[in-house]
Each structure stands twice: as C-alpha cells, then as structure tokens.
Symmetry: C2
C-alpha cells in the first residue's frame, strides 16, 4: 500500500480572482449518442467471442442467473440508459439486475466480492438495481467509463423474464475527434498508437483534464502536464489547460504550496496531498503553456504561484545542495514499488530551475535568472558529487545507493548528464536491467523524452512500439494507468479491478510521435 497523505489540520487559501476565471472557462461538454455494436461472450481468460448480432438483442430473455455482455466497439465515457421489458407471465416481483461496466474485458469477469485492494471498492463500476415495474427506461445517474456492459439477472421470478430492448450511451467529452489530423505513418502500429492515444486524451477531457474517467475522475498535476502537451499537439483546447492552471494556483495550502490534485465537486477544493515533484512541475507546465499559446497575460499572472514552488522546495535542500530523503519520499515519479526517489527529486528540481530560468529571461527578470542559474549550477554539482557512482557509471539514489531507470532519466532531462555521455548512460541502464524498472506510462513518457534528448529518435520509436505497442497487442482501446510489460496484470492497488484503463498520463504517444518525426 502506498503512503496516503492525510492532513486534517491543513489550512487552505483561495485566490477568488483565479477561481472565478477558472469557473468562467468551464467547457460545455459535447454529447454523442452511442449504441452497442455486438453481443459478445467473455471467457474466464478475458477473451472476447462474438455471441449474437446486436439485432438479436430483444430476442434474448434473461431469467435468474442469465446474463449478456454488450460491446460498444470502443472506449466510452458517458451516461447509460436501458430500455427494459418483461416477457412471460406478468411481472410479479422486482427485476433485480447487476450491471457491470468494464473498460477492458477482464473487468467483467472479476468478482468484486473478492476485491481486497487498498483503495476503495467503490471504484468498481458495478450497480445492483431493482426495477419494480416493467417496461421501463432505466436511466443510470452516474457516469461510466467502459467498452463492455454486462447485464446479469440476479433474480427475476419463475413467472417472468427480462428483455433488454435497447441500450444507449450519451458519451461526453470537452472535445471532438472530427477536427483532428491523424498521425500519418506507413507503420500501422504507429497509426493505431496515435488513434488510441487520442481516444485516451479525448475521454479524459471533461470539465477539467481528468486523470482517468473511471478513477479518480479528477485533476492531478502530473497528468495535467502531460495531457496539456498532447493537447497542444492535437485538440488545441488550450482554454481547458488555462482553466486547470488557474484552479491549481487559486486553491493552495496556506503557504502557497500547489496541491497534487484538486476536486471540482461538490466545490473546488485542493486535496491534502502534496508531492514534491508535482508541485514543482506546475512551473514547467506553465512554461509549456506559454510556448504553446504565447498567452503572456495568464502566464505573468500565474508566475508568482509557480515560482513559490521553487521557494518551498528549496527548503528541502541541505547546505551541500542535496535534497532530503523525505523530499524524495514525497515524490510520485512512478508507481514502481520500492523505488527510491531522492535522486529523481534532485533532478526534477534542477529540471524545473532550468524552466524557471527560461521564464525569468522571457519576462525580462535577468537578475532572477542569473541567481537561479547559480543555484542550478550548485545543484548540478551536488548531484554529480552525491548521486553519481563513477565506478558503476550510473546515478544512484538513497542511502542504499539504489540503481533505477528513474534516476538516470530525470538526471538526463535535467541536463546533469548530456550529449554522448547521456546517450551512453541510457544504453548502460537498459543493459543493466535494474530491478527498479518503470511501470507507469508516466515514467515511460519521460524515458522516451530522454531518448529524444539524446538524439535517439529511432530507439525512442522502437521503445514506444514495445511499450505502448504492448498494450495495443493486449487489445487496448485507450492506454492504461499502469503497464508493466513483464507483468501485464500488475496493479499498484492490490487488485487490477480498480486499475484505470483510460489514463491521462498514458496519452502522450500522440505528442511524442509528432515531436519525434517533426524534428527529423
């Protein structure tokens, strides 16, 4: 179980001006009516087999214990209505149905009674519903993320059976796929990867950039930054990025710390979870927003909030300019169990300093830029002194000098190693196959960015075909929150039943592919 942050005494401050701006930018969601395209069977192994033509639907009657699975053809996010009737003798008891929504087939087969993970079972998209009077349209009030819907008759009675006449999903998103130029490539895998990335991003773009429409359905900073990058390269719904940036800056801890995540319901509220890396990366997200939009007014207004994160993070450094182990512990970096994040924390701080320097220069704050540049150099030097293992030729992290992908990747992105040296470091870590691998598309995204930075465009694309392509081979319609090629069923929560299979931070191939090929 991961560390869960709870701070009941946390004091929040609100910048009403920022929150007001964010509210005005709330998008009107686009709606699309989607119907199932097939009736299927799902085996215990998750294998999907066709069962009947969708036109047969109203000829299937469900008695106690019967079920059917509908396939909506692609990942959907929306509100579902079912038109139900009874057949046989008059309906002499409530129809008792279980509805189960699955982003991937195996969710349908997982027994939620046996769920024993550490996050809430409430995330499993399963409803038990009594329908007292048939025929009826059953309008489910909750939003679901799914491709498959199982309708299971827990009980009817010996006198009647239930027939599902029609099922409709009112799919919602802030953006439409219509205007997107698909990534053009001769390789069908890359085209498919782009398509699935775009769908992932589209279905996460709701009232805010959500991390996952199944779970957690809210705004996380780490996800936002990657979503924003993919959005600039595709949908260009930049007002939604602006809205989210104002929310993060408008709702902070008393000391100005930007939260790792925000709730938008029942009211806008910053969570009591703070992560060293996520708070800092608000600055990088702001810089990237500026590069994409040239919206100087917004960026100038939000700059003090971003810069405040540097001031707060600076307190975690000792006199040697080495970040504390605690700061490392409060980083996200990756879901890899046992990963030591101290070196990553040092590198991320340097990475963000670099962006801060660029911003300060852009806004004519040369003095600040110079001061930050000095700090950056001190931190780089400390990174080389304290985290570089000359003998092994890799960065190490923590007291036990742990070797991981994450440390190398972030040190390279931070520019602590660069050029040929960095390129060789990446080769070395791949060859070493450290136990501390990468399990999230979030971390893998940064690995691909590092390859690109080292000029390894071909390797980067090959790696994407291995990693995101691995999910495609598993039938992904949208990219997953977590994918470990060595253990595709891995979950950070103790059970894959609550994994999110359409996850914001996994949508970056659309961005990476365009970037890797544009620069060629």
């Amino acid at each position: 179980m991961a560390k869960v942050s709870i701070d009941l005494n946390m004091k929040r401050v609100t910048n009403d001006n920022f929150v007001e701006k964010a509210k005005k930018l709330e998008p009107k969601l686009l709606e699309k009516q989607v119907k199932p395209i097939k009736i299927v069977s799902i085996g215990d192994d998750g294998k999907v087999e066709p069962r009947a033509d969708i036109g047969e639907l109203d000829r299937i009657s469900l008695k106690k214990g019967d079920s059917l699975v509908l396939d909506f053809g692609d990942h959907q996010v929306g509100y579902v209505s079912l038109k139900l009737k009874s057949v046989g003798s008059p309906q002499d008891a409530p129809a008792y149905l279980r509805l189960k929504f699955g982003e991937v087939p195996k969710e349908i087969k997982e027994n939620s009674e046996e769920y024993n993970g550490w996050i809430s079972r409430g995330w499993i998209q399963e409803e038990y519903i009594h329908v007292d009077v048939l025929p009826a349209w059953l309008h489910l009030p909750r939003r679901y993320a799914f491709r498959f819907l199982e309708i299971y008759a827990v009980d009817t009675s010996v006198k009647f059976q239930v027939v599902v006449e029609e099922v409709v999903c009112r799919a919602v998103s802030a953006v439409d796929m219509e205007n997107i130029e698909p990534f053009s490539a001769s390789d069908p895998v890359l085209r498919q990867m782009d398509k699935v990335s775009l769908r992932t991003l589209q279905n996460c773009m709701q009232s805010v950039f959500e991390d996952g429409p199944k779970r957690d359905r809210r705004l996380w900073l780490g996800d936002l930054r990657l979503q924003a990058l993919a959005n600039y390269a595709t949908f260009q719904e930049n007002e939604l990025v602006k809205r989210c940036m104002y929310l993060f800056a408008g709702l902070t801890r008393e000391d100005g710390a930007i939260g790792a995540c925000l709730f938008t319901e029942p009211e806008y509220l910053v969570d009591d979870t703070f992560m060293f890396d996520y708070s800092l990366l608000f600055l990088s997200a702001l810089k990237e927003y500026y590069e994409a939009t040239n919206d100087k007014e917004t960026v100038e207004e939000l700059w003090p909030s971003a810069y405040r994160q540097i001031e707060l993070s600076r307190m975690c450094f000792d006199e040697r300019n080495v970040v504390s182990e605690e700061a490392g512990d409060s980083c996200f970096v990756d879901w890899k169990e046992g990963l030591n994040k101290q070196a990553s924390a040092q590198a991320i701080y340097i990475y963000v300093l670099k962006d801060a320097i660029a911003m300060a220069n852009a806004f004519g704050q040369e003095k600040l830029a110079a001061k930050l540049e000095e700090e950056r150099k001190r931190c780089v030097s400390a990174a080389l002194d304290y985290f570089w293992d000359e003998k092994q030729g890799v960065f190490v992290s923590g007291e036990k000098r742990q070797i991981s992908y994450a440390s190398q990747v972030w040190m390279i992105l931070a520019g602590v190693k660069a050029g040929e040296e960095a390129r060789m470091l990446l080769d070395r870590i791949v060859e070493l196959k450290p136990e501390m691998s990468m399990v999230t598309p979030y971390m893998n995204h940064h690995f691909v960015e590092a390859l690109n930075l080292c000029g390894e465009k071909e390797k980067a694309i090959d790696y994407m075909k291995y990693y995101w392509g691995g999910m495609l081979l598993q039938g992904a319609d949208t990219f997953w929150e977590l994918y470990n090629p060595d253990n595709p069923q891995e979950s950070p929560y103790g059970s894959s039943a609550v994994n999110s299979h359409c996850h914001a931070w996994s949508c970056t191939p659309s961005y990476l592919l365009r970037k890797l090929t544009n620069e060629e």
Copy 2:
C-alpha cells in the same frame, strides 16, 4: 415450492366501464413525515439493544465495514431520504453503501447472499448505492416497508468517512389513524392486538388494498375480503373496497373467471393465477360490501360477475355433487404444506352458495334463490356422504382421507355441521391435533369465525390471544403473513427473508374483537 400458475395463452377481457369507475376511485394517499427515534444494535439472535440517542447520529462516522441501525419506532411504509456528508480528508472515492430495510429485526441480520428460496430474491429490501459526491441528499426512489434501517459502509476510503446527518421517511397510506376509536378492553393484550391490527391494515391500504407493502404489494382477492371486513369495522374507507371490486370484475379471463390477483402497474392487469376458493369468495365479499354500505347500485352492477364464479365452479362437480380433487388443488385455503383441500373446496362452494341465496333473495330473484337452495342441499348432502367420517367424527379430505383443521372449519362455516354438533367437532379437532394444522392468519381467522359461529366467544378470544398474541410476544408491530406457533421462523418460500411481516389477511383481530364483544 408451491405450484405457480403460468398460462401464457390466457385470453383476457376488460369491462372498460368497470375499470373506468375503478380509476376514478383511486385514493389520494396521505403523507406523514417520520424520523427515526433511536440508534440500536441488533444481535445475531435478532435482539434489539439501544446503542445511542438519536441526537448522536451526526457524531457517528462510518468507515469501511462500519454500520448503524436506525429504529423508526413502528412499522412504516414510505419513501426514505438520507442526508449524508463526508468527514476526514476530502472524499476521494465514491462512498459505497448498503441500505437494508427490515420490518422485523432479524431481516437486518439475514445474509441475502445466502438466500435460496423459490420466490424472487428481488423482494429483499436491500440496496447497494454509490454516492459520488458528498454532501448529498440521497432520495431513494422505491417504497419500503420497514421499522429498521441499517446503513452499512461497504467501502469509503482511507481518507474519508461517511456521516448520516438525517434520515426522513415520507410515510404513505390511504387512511389516517386519527379518527379511529381504539378497541376498548381492560386486557392490555387485546388493546395491543387491536392497535397492531389497525397498523397492519393502514399500511396495506394504498392505491388498492395491498396484500403486503413489502411483498407482493398488490391486490389479492383473499386478502381483500378480510381487509374489507376489518375496514368496515374501523376506517370505513369503503370507496377503496368498491374500487377493488370494480377492478376484479372489470379485468377477467375470457370466460368471466375472476383472478386471484391483479396488478395495477404499469397498467391494470389480471394475473394468470386462478384459485377456486378466491374466485368464489368474490361473491361473499360483494355480499359483505352490501351489508356494510347498502350500495345497491354497485352491487347490482357487479352481481353478474360474482354469479359467474358459481357457474364456472359448478363445472368442477361430478354427478354425485362432489367437487373434483383438481378444484381442491387449485384452492389457496392455507399455506400449510401437504394440506389436501378437496373438502375445503366443497365447503367453500356451499358457503358461497349460501351468500348467493341471500343476495338473490335481497334482490327479489326468488326463483334463482330457490334453485340455488336446492343445489346447496344436494352439495351439503354430498359433503356428508363423501367427506364425513362417521367413525372418527371428523371431515376427511382427498383419497388418503386426510384430517385437517381446514376441512372442519370450512364445513362449519358452510353450515354442513351446525349448533352443538359443530361445537363438539371443533373441540374434537383441537384435541386431535392433526398434523395438518393452520399456519396463516388467513386460516386462523376462519377458525375464529367458526368458534364464534358455534357460540364459543370466550374460546375465540383466548385463541386469538394465543395466536395473534403469540406474534405480539415476538415483538410484532404489524401482523405477519405467516405464523406457526410451533415454528415461528417458518416460511412458505424456503426462507423467512422474503416473508411479509405486515400482511393484509392478518389484520382481522380489529374486526373479530369488535364482532365478538358487540354481539355479547
């Protein structure tokens, strides 16, 4: 498992005039806001212990696995709303709650997963509900019958807990208790018996006379007749009886047979279940309605429908004037497993003939009355020839000459044995303690009527104290569908989880007590 009637080819006829009249008589339900009075604990034995003052409610926070039980002080039928909030860190997952409604405490402790009865598990009043955003008012759309409500947190998250701030029930009934004169008696048991009977009747009086507000929530003829009797003696909401009579007469089988039960939703519809005794007793119910209301217009209009039941039932008699075994099998009489009902069927036909003769005379149809009187005599004579066992001094039923309470009771009510002979017959059957006892208040009602007919008023009251009083000793707030003093947990459905504990046919003590004491 009882025989379930299914006739998919049944042809229905509708008398639009009758149905129109019934629709116009639909009552406007009275509403009353009821709040829980106590927080309690229920032991595995169903014992209720106080847990906390109701004022403590919003100080109890529910984390995963926690629950609380609210006691509403009396049996309620209505719609429930819960005001919920979260405490702790922000609500980072849906709150997943199970709500369980119990008419009696042990329903709360029964595990519905283990339910294995032959009627639908859908009757168990249990809901699984996800609440995505707290605080919220949760308005449950279904109607429940209950005194106890358990709120169980299936899951929250490690970050937040759920608090139930307030629970309100909008209780509904066609009648109000305000205007009822309670039964006056020095014996507190009799006063309590009257109170519980009245509550039973009140909570079954909805848009129609329901058999039970938990289950089946619809109009059954056998229940209606007894409810009407209790209603005449108490609430006197006679228009509701009239409405139900028009419904039964307006919606029949093609041959004019009146059904055992009617649905009122989604439209008025007669079920495909027909019972020899129930169809016939429509005539007795009509006679009793006439006696109570003197509403000649209605009774004359419905008389042909009632008389048609005699014509149809007559076809089940052979040349000896003995009813067929099949007719017996299609009687309800009682839920007693293994009961042979041939003798009861013969007796009930004679009983109804007697009422038909009285009606024919009342409406000046002397020729018909005389013809029916001759038939009655033939049937009585056949009853004595074929069902009376001279040696044992009891009526027997079926090929195996089964001895039961039911046969004696109905033969006495039919007047086949009368006076001292009938009185001694009742004594004899009580002494014999036949295996074929009585398990429903419906059958026990007729036993008490038989005692009264034989002048045994004191025995009748003593018996009521033993039988309905037995339910009072078990804590009944309303009288139950089934009560076997030798096995209080008995169920006709394979599990008491679906038993109805507020059941129409059990409400007659209010009528019987007034009748037994008035005539003294």
